[in-house]
C-alpha cells in the first residue's frame, strides 16, 4: 500500500517543488540553530571540563572557603589527617599584565617542592640548563610562564614580566617555560606559576591560602577522607571533589547556556508552524486526490500515514541539511559563547576544537523529524477524516473552518490563566523543567486561541486597511476575518518569534531600570576606585594602604574600603559586602527597607547585625527580624537581620556587614572598591585625576566619578545582555524566515483563488496589491498577536526565569517602543517576502488557474 502512496506523493512533490523546498528549509533552519547551539554548548563544557581536570591534576579532593581563603595552618591539619597522601596549597589570582591588548593571566601560586606530584608540568628545556625550574621559583619575583604566552610577547627565560599586584606593578623574572600540555593547555596558555608564599605577599593574601589540593592514599576511600576532613576542619571550610569546581564554572555560564537553548527551541517551534502551514495547504490542494484514493479503497490510517510519511521524509532531509549547516554555524556560536565565558571568568577559556558529538547528531535528527511529524499531525488527521463522497465534489464543497466556538476560546483562555497562576504562585525552586512546562502550557493555550486572536486583530485592522488600501485592503483582511485559521500558521510562526523578541526586550529594559534605581539609591559616593573592568576581580585586590593615600588628598572628606566576596552559605554560596557601616549608613541609610532604621543605625556599626539584599531574602527565605548563620574560617557567627536593601551585585544574594567584623572573623583586609566622599565644593574630576596619578604604575586601579561609575555599571549590564541582544537578532531572523517561508508557500499555492479574482474582473495590479496588502495585514496581525503573547511570556520571564537565573524577580514592563519599532521591520520583511509571490500571482493564467483543483 505505502509504496503506491509514496508514488502519489512523489508526483505531488515534483509539481510543488517550491513548497517542498521551503518546508524542508524551515525544518533545516530550526535543526541548524539547535544543533549549532548544542554543539557550541558541548564544546564549551568540554573546555570547562578540560580546564578543571588540568588545574586539579591528580587531586581527588579540594579544601576551600569560598573566595576568602583560609589560614595556612589548615594545611598542617589536612596533611596530618589519616588517609591524606599528598596535600598542596594553592593560591589562584587572575592578574592584569602590563601588556596592552592582552587578556588577564591566571597565576597559580604553588608549593615549588611538592606540586609536581599533583600536576603535570612539561618544561621547555631548550633555553635553559636548569633541571627543575620549579625549584627556582622560590627565588623572589620568579615566575614560570606558558610557552604560548611567552611566544606571543617575545619573552625568553630571564626576561621580565610586568604584573599588577596588590602592592603595585611589579616585574617578575621568567625562570622557565612550560609546554602546551598538562597545565599549559589551560586558558589558551594564559597561565603562569609562582611560589605560593610569594603569591601570598604580592597579591595581599596575608598568611592565607585559597585552596588545598589533596590526594587520598590508595588504601583509604575518598569518601572516608572527605568525612574525616569535614570533622577536623573549622565549619567555614568545605571539602569537595574537584568536579564541584567544574560545576561552579558551569553554573556561572548557565544563564548564557539556557538563553541559547531557548533560542534554539524557538527556531524549532517556528519550524513546526512552517510544517503545519505547508501540510494544511497540501491537504487542501489534494482534497480531490484524497477522495479518489479513499474511493479506490485506501483506508483512513493509510491516508494519514501517507502525509506523516511525507513529513518523516521531509523532516529527515531537513534535519540532515540542518545538521550539516549547523556544524558550520556552531563555529560562530562557539566563538560567541567562548568570548562571553571569557568575560565571565576573567580569562579566555581553554579553546577546544568543535566536536561532532554523535549523540547530538542523533538528538538533533530525532528532534527535527519529531517537529516535522508534530507539525504535520493535525493536517494528516484532517485528511484521514475527509468524507470521500464530499471530497470528490468541487472545491466549494470543501468544508471550511470549523466554528471558532467559545468552548475553544475558553479552553485556550483557561490554559493561559492556569499558566499565569502557576507562574505567580509556584516557588522559584520548583525546578526548571516544571517551569518550562508552564511556558509550554502557555504556548499551547496561545495556539488554541490563536485563530480567534487573528480574527479579532483582523477586525480591529479592517478600518485602517480599508482606508489605506481601498477595496483590495479590505478584501485582504476580510479573508482573514472569514478564515482566520488559514493564516494562523503564518501568524503563529511570527507570534512565537516576536513573543520571544518582545519579552526578552522587556526583560532587558526592566532589568536596566532596576539597576538604575539601585545605583541611584545605594551607590552614591562621589568617586569609586575598582580593581577590574568587570564589576570586581575575584582574585586581585587593593591593600588598605591605597585608601590611606587617597584620604590624604586635600579635597577628600572620607574614604570607605569595601570588600566584596563570596562565602559558603548553607551548602551554596552567598555574597558578603564588608563596608564601613557608619559611612554606608550616612550615604545610603534611607535605602533600608523592612526594618527599624534607628535600631539598624545603632547596631550595624557595632557589628551586631547585618543587612541583606532582597534577592538574598527571597533566595533563603530570611526577612528582617530573622537571623543569618555564617561559618567563618575563625568560628560560627550568628547575627540578626536588621533590614533589607535593594542590591543586584550578586545573583546569590548579598549580606552587608561591618568591615571590622569581617576582618576579625575572616582575617582578610583586602579591598575591592574604594568609595570616596569629597568635601563640599570638591571637584570630582580633578580628584579623579589626582587618584589616577597616585595609582599610576603601582595599582591596576580604575577610577570613576559617580556618573561614570553608574554608566560603567550600565555598560556591564549591556555587556551581560550582549547575548540576549544576539538572541533578539536570531529570533527576529527566525521570525522573518518563518513569515517569508509561509507567505511564499501560501501565496504560491493560491493560484485558483487569484484566477477567480482575475476572471471576475480583478486587474493584475489589483491582484498584486491584494497579495502585498495581505502580507502587510498578516505582519501587523502577527505583531499584535505577538505582543499579546508577549504579555504572558514577559510575566514568565520577569518572574520565573529571572528567579531561576538571578534569584530575584524583575518588575513587569511592557516594551511599547520595541513593539512599535519592530512593526515597520516586520512589515518591510513581509512585503519583501511577498513581492515575488505577488508577481507570480498577478501573472496567473486565468483559464489554467480556474480549472486547477
Amino acid at each position: 500500500m505505502y509504496p503506491a502512496l509514496w508514488h502519489v506523493t512523489s508526483r505531488q512533490w515534483k509539481s510543488h517543488r517550491l513548497r517542498v523546498a521551503l518546508t524542508t528549509l524551515g525544518i533545516a533552519l530550526g535543526v541548524a540553530v539547535f544543533f549549532a547551539v548544542r554543539t557550541a554548548n558541548a564544546t564549551l563544557l568540554d573546555s570547562l571540563t578540560l580546564t578543571v581536570e588540568r588545574l586539579a591534576g591528580k587531586s581527588t579532593l579540594e579544601v576551600t572557603a569560598g573566595e576568602t581563603g583560609f589560614p595556612e595552618q589548615i594545611l598542617e591539619t589536612v596533611r596530618s589527617t589519616p588517609g591524606v597522601q599528598i596535600a598542596e596549597p594553592v593560591i589562584e589570582v587572575i592578574a592584569n599584565t602590563g601588556f596592552e591588548d592582552e587578556g588577564n593571566l591566571l597565576i597559580m601560586g604553588v608549593d615549588t617542592t611538592g606540586d609536581q606530584q599533583l600536576r603535570e608540568y612539561q618544561f621547555d628545556r631548550s633555553q635553559t640548563q636548569i633541571s627543575d625550574p620549579l625549584v627556582y621559583l622560590a627565588q623572589p619575583n620568579s615566575i614560570l610562564l606558558s610557552q604560548s604566552f611567552a611566544e606571543r610577547h617575545g619573552l625568553r627565560i630571564g626576561d621580565a614580566l610586568p604584573l599588577f599586584t596588590s602592592h603595585g606593578r611589579k616585574d617578575f623574572t621568567v625562570q622557565g617555560l612550560f609546554k602546551p600540555v598538562g597545565i599549559g593547555e589551560v586558558f589558551g596558555g594564559n597561565i603562569a606559576v609562582m611560589d605560593v608564599y610569594s603569591a601570598q605577599v604580592v597579591f595581599g593574601r596575608g598568611r592565607n591560602f585559597d585552596r588545598i589540593d589533596l590526594v587520598n592514599s590508595p588504601d583509604t576511600p575518598v569518601e572516608t577522607v572527605q568525612q574525616r576532613l569535614r570533622e577536623r576542619l573549622p565549619s567555614g571550610l568545605e571539602t569537595v571533589r574537584p568536579q564541584v569546581r567544574g560545576q561552579a564554572l558551569e553554573n556561572a555560564v548557565t544563564a548564557m547556556r539556557v538563553g541559547m537553548l531557548v533560542t534554539s527551541f524557538i527556531s524549532l517551534l517556528v519550524g513546526v508552524y512552517i510544517i503545519f502551514n505547508s501540510f494544511t495547504i497540501a491537504v487542501n490542494q489534494r482534497w480531490k486526490e484524497i477522495g479518489i484514493l479513499r474511493a479506490v479503497g485506501v483506508e483512513r490510517r493509510n491516508i494519514s500515514g501517507m502525509f506523516l510519511g511525507e513529513a518523516l521524509v521531509m523532516g529527515a532531509i531537513g534535519s540532515l541539511i540542518g545538521i550539516a549547516g549547523g556544524y558550520y554555524l556552531a563555529a560562530l556560536a562557539s566563538k560567541v559563547m567562548n568570548s562571553i565565558a571569557a568575560s565571565i571568568f576573567g580569562v579566555i577559556s581553554t579553546p577546544q576544537p568543535l566536536q561532532l558529538h554523535s549523540n547530538l547528531v542523533l538528538t538533533s535528527f530525532a528532534l527535527g523529524v519529531a517537529c516535522s511529524l508534530a507539525g504535520a499531525w493535525f493536517p494528516a488527521r484532517a485528511a484521514s477524516l475527509l468524507d470521500p463522497a464530499l471530497a470528490l465534489h468541487n472545491v466549494e464543497a470543501r468544508q471550511q473552518e470549523s466554528v471558532l466556538g467559545w468552548a475553544r476560546v475558553t479552553l485556550g483562555g483557561g490554559l493561559l490563566l492556569l499558566c499565569s497562576l502557576l507562574i505567580q504562585l509556584s516557588p522559584a525552586r520548583v525546578g526548571m523543567t516544571l517551569q518550562f512546562a508552564y511556558a509550554a502550557l502557555m504556548l499551547l493555550g496561545l495556539t488554541i486561541v490563536l485563530p480567534k486572536l487573528v480574527q479579532w486583530a483582523a477586525l480591529a485592522l479592517r478600518p485602517l486597511m480599508d482606508f489605506a488600501g481601498g477595496s483590495e485592503g479590505a478584501l485582504a483582511v476580510d479573508a482573514m476575518i472569514q478564515s482566520p485559521r488559514r493564516i494562523s500558521a503564518t501568524v503563529g510562526a511570527l507570534m512565537v518569534g516576536l513573543m520571544f523578541v518582545f519579552s526578552t526586550g522587556a526583560y532587558i529594559q526592566s532589568y536596566r531600570r532596576m539597576i538604575d534605581r539601585w545605583t541611584s539609591r545605594l551607590l552614591n559616593a562621589d568617586l569609586f576606585v575598582a580593581t577590574s573592568t568587570l564589576l570586581r576581580s575575584t582574585t586581585y585586590h587593593f591593600s588598605e594602604e591605597l585608601g590611606q593615600r587617597i584620604a590624604a588628598l586635600p579635597e577628600v572628606k572620607r574614604v570607605d574600603n569595601v570588600r566584596f566576596t563570596l562565602i559558603p552559605f548553607q551548602g551554596d554560596t552567598a555574597a558578603v559586602a564588608a563596608v564601613e557601616m557608619d559611612g554606608f549608613l550616612e550615604r545610603a541609610g534611607g535605602a533600608i527597607e523592612d526594618g527599624n532604621e534607628k535600631t539598624a543605625r545603632e547596631l550595624l556599626p557595632r557589628g551586631e547585625g547585618v543587612l541583606i539584599s532582597k534577592n538574598f531574602s527571597t533566595r533563603w527565605k530570611i526577612g528582617a527580624g530573622g537571623r543569618v548563620h555564617l561559618n567563618t574560617p575563625a568560628r560560627a557567627l550568628d547575627l540578626p537581620v536588621l533590614g533589607l536593601v535593594e542590591d543586584y551585585r550578586s545573583d546569590k544574594g548579598t549580606i552587608f556587614l561591618d568591615r571590622a567584623l569581617y576582618k576579625k572573623y575572616w582575617d582578610d583586609d583586602a579591598v575591592d572598591f574604594v568609595e570616596i566622599s569629597l568635601k563640599p565644593g570638591g571637584n570630582a574630576t580633578a580628584v579623579k585625576g589626582e587618584i589616577e596619578k597616585l595609582t599610576s604604575g603601582s595599582e591596576h586601579a580604575l577610577v570613576y566619578t559617580n556618573a561614570e561609575f553608574r554608566n560603567w555599571i550600565s555598560g556591564l549590564v549591556d555587556q551581560f545582555f550582549v547575548l540576549d541582544d544576539m538572541q533578539l537578532v536570531v529570533a527576529v531572523l527566525v521570525a522573518l524566515v518563518g513569515i517569508v517561508n509561509t507567505l511564499i508557500i501560501s501565496v504560491s499555492e493560491r493560484r485558483r483563488e487569484f484566477g477567480i479574482l482575475r476572471a471576475v474582473g480583478g486587474l493584475r495590479s489589483q491582484i498584486r496589491k491584494l497579495v502585498l496588502l495581505e502580507a502587510v495585514a498578516i505582519s501587523i496581525v502577527g505583531v499584535l498577536v505577538g505582543a499579546v503573547a508577549a504579555l504572558f511570556n514577559i510575566q514568565f520571564m520577569s518572574h520565573t526565569v529571572s528567579m531561576v537565573l538571578t534569584g530575584y524577580a524583575v518588575p513587569f514592563y511592557f516594551p511599547w517602543t520595541l513593539v512599535f519599532c519592530t512593526l515597520p521591520v516586520v512589515v518591510a520583511a513581509s512585503l519583501l517576502a511577498a513581492w515575488l509571490p505577488a508577481r507570480h500571482a498577478m501573472e496567473v493564467q486565468v483559464i489554467e488557474a480556474i480549472g486547477y483543483e
Binding site: 468541487n394 472545491v395 466549494e396 464543497a397 477595496s471 472569514q482 471576475v760 480583478g762
Partner: protein
C-alpha cells in the same frame, strides 16, 4: 454585440492543435445563443476568446464594437468587469468568502464601498431567491444554491453580456431547470446577451439560436426550433 471575423486559435508549436478554424459569428444585442458540440470541438475556446481570457491566433474578436486584440490585458479585464458576467460549470466561488461577499466581489474590485457593495449583493441574492443564505459560505450551500450565487455574482453589475460555460453541468436535471429558468427571468429583466456553452439540449432549448461546432468549425447555425429538431 459580439462579432468574430475569421477567428482561428491554435495551440502548441511542434504538433499544432487547431482549436478554432476561420470562425465567423455575429451575435446581436439581447440575443441568447447556445454553442453546442462534442468535447474538443472548440466551445470553451470560443467562450474564452469572447471574454478576453484568451487571444486568437488570427482574426478579430469584437465585443460591443471594441476590438479585443488591440487591448492590453488590463483593458480586457476592465471590459470583462464592466460588460461581461461569467458563469462556470464549477461555480468558481471563493470558498473563504460568504455568499454575500462572493456576490459583492466584482463591485468591490471596481472600488465600490463594502457596505454599498454588500447591500447590493443582498438585494441580488434576494432576486435569485437566496436572501437568507447571504452569510453562508459555499460549503454550506447546495449545488443549485452555489450556482445561483455564481449567477448573482455574474449579473450584479448588470453586464450587457452574460457568458455561461456549462452552467448546469454539475447539477441534477431539476436544479438545472431551475437555474435555466432563473437565467430566462434575468434575461427578460435585463435584456442582456447570453452566450451559453453547453452539451445539454434542455439548456440549449432556453436559447434563441444554436451554433454547433465540430473540430473547431461552425457546422450549423440555426434558430432554435429548427436547430433543436435537428439535434433531437
Amino acid at each position: 454585440m459580439i462579432q468574430l471575423t475569421d477567428v482561428s486559435k491554435s495551440y502548441g508549436s511542434e504538433k499544432t492543435v487547431h482549436a478554432l478554424s476561420h470562425i465567423d459569428l455575429t451575435i446581436a444585442p439581447g440575443e441568447r445563443v447556445a454553442v453546442m458540440g462534442p468535447s474538443g470541438s472548440g466551445k470553451s475556446t470560443l467562450l474564452n476568446l469572447v471574454c478576453g481570457l484568451d487571444e486568437p491566433t488570427s482574426g478579430s474578436v469584437k465585443v460591443e464594437g471594441v476590438e479585443l486584440s488591440g487591448l492590453t490585458d488590463d483593458a480586457r479585464t476592465r471590459l470583462r468587469r464592466e460588460k461581461i458576467g461569467m458563469i462556470f460549470q464549477t461555480f468558481n466561488l471563493l470558498p473563504t468568502l460568504t455568499a454575500g461577499e462572493n456576490v459583492a466581489l466584482p463591485l468591490r474590485l471596481q472600488g465600490e464601498h463594502k457596505h454599498e457593495a454588500e447591500r447590493r449583493a443582498v438585494a441580488m441574492l434576494e432576486r435569485v431567491g437566496l436572501k437568507d443564505r447571504a452569510v453562508h459560505r459555499p460549503d454550506e450551500l447546495s449545488g443549485g444554491e452555489r450556482q445561483r450565487v455564481a449567477i448573482a455574482r455574474a449579473v450584479i453589475f448588470r453586464p450587457p453580456l452574460l457568458l455561461g460555460d456549462e452552467p448546469t453541468g454539475n447539477l441534477d436535471s431539476v436544479t438545472g431547470e431551475e437555474i435555466l429558468r432563473l437565467l430566462d427571468d434575468l434575461h427578460s429583466e435585463y435584456n442582456n446577451t447570453l452566450l451559453l456553452v453547453t452539451h445539454n439540449v434542455q439548456a440549449a432549448g432556453h436559447c434563441d439560436r444554436i451554433v454547433s461546432l465540430h473540430d473547431g468549425q461552425i457546422v450549423r447555425d440555426e434558430r432554435i426550433e429548427q436547430g433543436l429538431a435537428e439535434i433531437r
